[in-house]
């Protein structure tokens, strides 16, 4: 599609629509009355966005990468949206999770935030999604920064809205704001340095110009970008903002951002490491082996260990997320096609399990008003469907066969053993055993304890409403389905990784 827009067919405009639809829909939401209208609108928009992503994914899988010139300005001067398998997968993930979490959210949200903020809440949610989609779709380094900030700013607001229920949300949002801003600043400094070195902001163009360039400026730019994105993706030990933000945000927000925002940041680091910079450059090799890989491993263990001792289930899941990010970093750090493919698979799979888990906790919040593990005692008797959803997605997190978690573990192990890094394979399974402990603890509470007969959780409790159960179970079903049929996840991720490395010639 060179030059000005030649075709006005809607299909050709899909890359732009992917971002424009939610972007335009968001301000409209503010004008809506409180009640169910904003919720229905946001859900509808999420579903439409999901449909666009699926169409894009199909197109890319069948016909190869798509390049879209925004406003008809040719790259490298204009902004290019570039969709290949790697980001088509991320786009589908973000919009897919939104398409299930948004419909789920209503009952949970009105019980946790100020009712008057409802239109604002859904507007922020849509903007957050827009930002995340934008980061994934753009082929322009500075544009990544812009969308990153769009999603982050709206997330700060969304986390802070949990403040009505729990004042600590304000403090968490503020922390997140400070850390997130530092991360964004580092990132933009890095992009600036690269711009100084190459004179371009288009990622593909930057890649060409960076060939053979190993100057101080490039190295500094690289370092700033890795640290900046490291903050955004909660790379240990830059994760300190995450547990509190996830724990105190409204439940629906936790489910959405836990499944998407760190994943998008992981995608960004993959994109920069493997398609902007050269994998064989000495500074990148050093970063992979001495920074990303070790920090991933330490994160896997440190965060899992902390998770074992949490009594707040949402905080426990948040620490687990940090650990799971460690797995992805480990896959990336291996620096092989298999490793990156495993990281991408885990990126998708982990989103599926964490979204389902946070949704289950949200249902418990709604009915019992607490996310403390005491509230989970005897849950299998009080809220059997919610408990079953938590158990299945929890088993998925552990990596039990016939769930997506198992596929992730399998691919990660394959990358480790196949890449002469058997030690990494054993570390992966060892840290999975910590997941057995922290998830097993909650499952045991739910299944083998009687519901409390006194204390704040003793009141009779009904099962979560159907409108929450259905989306939750759709994700649980996805956990099992993609655990048995990996054509859409593992196979596409492998092709995506090959494309990133230029092995399959997909770039």
């Amino acid at each position: 599609m060179a030059g000005p827009v030649e075709s006005y067919s809607l299909v050709d405009q899909l890359p732009a629509l992917q971002v424009v639809v939610p972007l335009v829909a968001a301000p409209v939401t503010i004008l809506m009355p409180k009640g169910r209208v904003p919720w229905a609108w946001a859900s509808l928009v999420a579903a439409a966005t999901f449909a666009i992503s699926l169409a894009l994914l199909h197109q890319v899988a069948a016909y190869g990468p798509i390049s879209y010139e925004l406003g008809g300005w040719a790259p490298p001067w204009g902004i290019e949206y570039r969709v290949d398998l790697a980001n088509a997968l991320v786009l589908t993930l973000v919009s897919g999770v939104a398409a299930f979490v948004f419909p789920y959210s209503y009952r949970s949200v009105i019980s946790e935030i100020d009712e008057n903020q409802l239109p604002l809440f859904y507007a922020a949610l849509l903007i957050c999604m827009t930002g995340l989609l934008g980061v994934a779709i753009t082929g322009d380094a500075f544009n990544v920064f812009v969308f990153l900030e769009i999603s982050s700013l709206s997330t700060y607001a969304l986390v802070a809205m949990g403040g009505r229920h729990d004042r600590r949300a304000l403090h968490s949002a503020y922390n997140y704001l400070v850390m997130g801003t530092i991360g964004a600043t580092f990132f933009v400094i890095g992009v600036g340095l690269l711009y100084a070195a190459t004179g371009t902001l288009n990622m593909a163009d930057m890649h060409d110009k960076l060939a053979g360039m190993e100057t101080r400026v490039v190295e500094a730019g690289f370092a700033f970008i890795v640290v900046g994105i490291g903050l955004k993706l909660a790379m240990f030990p830059l994760h300190l903002w995450l547990p509190n933000a996830y724990a105190h945000a409204p439940s629906a927000v936790s489910a959405f951002i836990a499944a998407t925002s760190t994943k998008v940041a992981v995608y960004v680091i993959v994109r920069f490491l493997f398609t902007v910079f050269y994998t064989d450059s000495s500074f990148e090799q050093a970063a992979l082996s001495y920074v990303i890989l070790p920090l991933g491993v330490v994160g896997m263990f440190a965060a899992s260990l902390v998770a074992v001792f949490q009594s707040d289930v949402k905080r426990m899941l948040a620490y687990s997320s940090v650990a799971q990010i460690g797995y992805m970093l480990l896959g990336i750090g291996l620096g092989s096609v298999d490793g990156v493919s495993a990281a991408l698979v885990h990126l998708v799979n982990h989103a599926l399990m964490k979204a389902a888990l946070f949704m289950a906790v949200g249902a418990v919040m709604l009915r019992l008003g607490s996310r403390h593990c005491d509230a989970f005692a005897g849950l299998a008797k009080r809220m059997p469907w919610t408990a079953a959803a938590f158990i299945i997605s929890g088993l998925s997190l552990i990596g039990v066969p016939a769930t997506v978690g198992f596929i992730s573990k399998w691919q990660l192990l394959k990358a480790s053993f196949g890449g002469d890094a058997a030690w990494a394979g054993f570390l992966i399974v060892a840290s999975s055993l910590l997941a057995v402990i922290y998830i097993g603890r909650i499952i045991e509470l739910m299944v083998l304890r009687e519901p409390p007969t006194e204390g704040p959780h003793a009141k009779p409790v009904a099962e979560a409403p159907l409108e929450m159960l259905l989306p939750m179970w759709a994700l649980v079903a996805a956990n099992v389905y993609f655990g048995l049929n990996t054509e859409l996840t593992a196979s596409l991720a492998m092709r995506a990784a090959e494309a990133l490395f230029g092995v399959g010639g997909g770039q």
Binding site: K409, V429, V436, E444, N485
Partner: protein, 503 residues
């Protein structure tokens, strides 16, 4: 039914049984139990059909679907798996009959959940038996662990919770921590995980290096269900479960799935020739030998009957591991036969222990003095089962010991023959006193057993206090099986011959 159709049916039937049990429970308990028994009966017929087909030389296959590229969920029946499936499904019927008597006799709760878990567990045991590659085996292995967890924690009290925690902790810990990396490592090295006669690793790994013994050790300990010391604690701790569950764990499915997997992996992944040439399994053969003696020694110290039987199982399972690690044809033959023979013998013992508990509410051996006089059938059956475990002819248990000794001799490990002999003596010491006390020692005078007066009669016919028929009939069947199998040892040998490369 043709073998190709029967293979998927072997999974479909327990699945339908699952719904039958659930739906039947809404009507009445009798309908629910009927659903269990009908499922068990039809499953047994299907598995028997497959068994005979395999005996005639067929190797039925079924590829369900591809999980990861190049790795399908696939099944292929070979003699070892056909035998294990036959034992599991046959004993499931016996166990179900027994469960009905036991669970009703002891008025246990949550019986529907109990029978449903059994149906899932048996389906996964069949899945392990028929698996065509390591991925399929692993998937069903883990489902078996999870589906038996509600059974182990059935009572729901603190003890059951603790037992369940250890059960799940050890089994999941070993399988995820050791078995899974072993499988993926195998896949990374060999490029396949298909069970192939002669193994898939020959020529793929540095045969002198440490990889082969390390990999073998990962499998041997990673298959926690085989309870090779020190991966055994889950087994004694799982005794908190109702007796039918113990029988199921010890004889029908769980531990048998473990040792079966060890044997299958040694035969079809490593290949006994590769192990014999490289000597990679020598150390593990000694560990298995150590496990045999140590577990027997611990068994002697246990007063709780079920605990004693549990340690006896740990010891007897190590026989199978030993047979595999000897890496000789006769060793493998002995291990394979031990799976069948031990299943029948230990099933009998556990069901007798449960019958004693149901009728007399006794679980400690020291309290059982004189009890045989009022429960002669139960203790008579116990005696037969014990003799089979010890390995006395004319009971089936004699054959595996015989082949294992032959295998040790073939491997040039004379010392292991002595270990086997010592172990048999230990078996006599910890098993036979139980029926002897029950028949010949006078009751201690504080409880019901002597209220019948006439302390001198060996059997007090007028004061019989046997367990209900449902608790007596099943061990009678398995005890008879022990006897019958002694005379069919040759047929079993011929059936298993293909796995050791014979005609």
């Amino acid at each position: 039914m043709s073998p190709e159709l029967a293979l998927p049916a072997a999974f479909l039937v327990p699945l339908m049984g699952l719904f039958g049990i659930w739906a039947g429970a809404k009507v009445s308990d009798n309908v629910r139990e009927a659903a269990t028994l009908i499922t068990g009966g039809s499953l047994f017929l299907i598995v028997l059909g497959l068994f005979t087909a395999v005996g005639a030389g067929a190797r039925p296959e079924w590829e369900a679907f591809e999980v990861i590229e190049g790795l399908p969920l696939a099944f292929r029946i070979e003699p070892l798996g056909a035998l294990f499936a036959l034992i599991a499904s046959g004993l499931w019927i016996v166990n179900s009959l027994y469960s009905i008597g036991y669970m009703r006799g002891n008025e246990e709760k949550h019986q529907t959940r109990f029978y449903m878990s059994f149906a899932v567990a048996i389906a996964s045991a069949i899945g392990v038996a028929y698996s065509a590659n390591l991925l399929t085996l692993f998937i069903f292995y883990e489902i078996l662990t999870l589906s038996t967890f509600p059974l182990v924690t059935h009572k729901g009290d603190d003890k059951a919770r603790n037992g369940g925690r250890i059960y799940l902790g050890v089994l999941m810990g070993t399988s995820i921590g050791l078995l899974l990396p072993a499988i993926v490592w195998t896949y990374a090295v060999a490029g396949t995980t298909d069970f192939t006669l002669g193994g898939i690793l020959a020529g793929k790994v540095d045969e002198a290096g440490p990889v082969l013994p390390l990999l073998l050790a990962l499998y041997a300990f990673g298959i926690g269900k085989a309870a090779l010391m020190p991966a055994h604690p889950w087994l004694p701790n799982a005794m908190v479960a109702p007796t039918p569950v113990s029988a199921f764990l010890h004889a029908v499915a769980v531990v048998k799935a473990g040792v079966f997997s060890v044997l299958k992996i040694v035969v079809y992944i490593f290949g006994i020739d590769l192990l014999a040439e490289t000597g990679a399994s020598d150390l593990l053969a000694w560990i298995a030998g150590g496990s045999i003696l140590l577990a027997s020694a611990i068994a002697m110290t246990q007063d709780n009957l079920k605990a004693r039987l549990a340690y006896s199982t740990v010891s007897q399972l190590a026989y199978v591991t030993l047979g595999a690690m000897l890496a000789t044809q006769m060793g493998v033959m002995g291990g394979a036969q031990q799976i069948a023979m031990h299943a029948l013998g230990k099933m009998t013992l556990f069901m007798c222990a449960g019958a004693v508990y149901t009728a007399a509410h006794k679980s400690n051996i020291s309290e059982m003095a004189g009890l045989g006089r009022v429960m002669p059938v139960t203790f008579g059956l116990f005696f037969i089962g014990a003799c089979s475990i010890i390995g006395l002819p004319p009971l089936g248990g004699a054959w595996p010991k015989f082949f294992l000794m032959l295998g040790s001799a073939d491997a040039g490990q004379t010392a292991l023959i002595f270990i086997l002999m010592i172990s048999s003596v230990l078996n006599v010491i910890y098993l036979l006193p139980i029926p002897i006390r029950a028949f010949y020692m006078a009751p201690d005078g504080r409880d019901g057993a002597n209220e019948t007066g006439e302390g001198r009669a060996l059997i007090q016919w007028h004061a019989m206090k046997e367990a209900p028929l449902f608790c007596i009939l099943p061990p009678t069947l398995t005890a008879a099986g022990c006897l019958v199998l002694f005379f069919y040892g040759g047929a079993l040998y011929d059936f298993l011959l293909p796995i050791i490369g014979g005609a």
